[in-house]
């Protein structure tokens, strides 16, 4: 079982690295490449595909984990989802009030915040079950 977990864990890390390796250059090219709309849309598909592969691998890994680790992942996602909703609510209120600065809360930043929330949730859940 441990071998299966290690194998699927390694696969998830590799697919995450592939997603990062495709996403960042595409992001750069879309911003600075001077591509036309059609090429931009086509290029955007590449990190979407690698992200789907990563998520598929992540979900498959969840199935190979034992009960405690599955609970940790579940609680990490619940906490990160709650924090994401909270952030969205705050941003909505700020936006309505005309106080929102898109320099810090654009879509690219939100992505980073959401990833950070997952790790916050993971840390909290891990402390609860595996101290």
């Amino acid at each position: 079982m441990e071998t299966t977990i290690k194998k699927t864990g390694k696969r998830t890390i590799i697919t995450a690295a592939i997603w990062g390796a495709t996403y960042l250059p595409v992001l750069y090219l879309l911003k600075h490449g001077g591509l036309d709309k059609q090429a931009s849309v086509l290029l955007s598909v590449v990190p979407i595909i690698t992200f789907i592969i990563f998520i598929y691998s992540y979900i498959k890994q969840m199935g190979a984990l034992d009960e405690v680790k599955q609970r940790i992942q579940f609680e990490a996602v619940v906490i990160s989802f709650a924090l994401a909703l909270l952030l969205m609510m705050v941003l909505c209120l700020f936006d309505v009030a005309g106080l929102l600065s898109y320099d810090y809360f654009g879509f690219a930043f939100l992505e980073l915040y959401f990833m950070g929330f997952y790790f916050v949730g993971y840390f909290i859940a891990k402390q609860k079950y595996i101290a």
């Binding site: 079982m1 441990e2 977990i5 034992d66 009960e67 405690v68 680790k69 609970r71 609860k128 079950y129 595996i130 101290a131």
Partner: protein
């Protein structure tokens, strides 16, 4: 919920890692269950009972506040 996993392990002279290998979970998971931080599923409780050759009731007991 309290449990007697530590006692049963001692009877068999098993470490947490030994028990983990027998029931197919991680050592951290065994530690989490043994210290009462996590309540296992019925299937896992039955697997533990089988490994220790005892009943689930012998391994896990309800406390007054349960």
């Amino acid at each position: 919920m309290k449990n007697t996993i530590k006692v049963e392990r001692a009877k068999k002279n098993w470490t947490q890692a030994d028990l983990a290998t027998h029931i197919g979970i991680s050592r951290q998971a065994v530690n989490s269950i043994e210290t009462g931080k996590f309540v296992p599923s019925t299937v896992l409780a039955l697997r533990m009972a089988t490994a220790f050759e005892c009943t689930v009731e012998m391994l896990f007991q309800l406390e007054d506040n349960n």
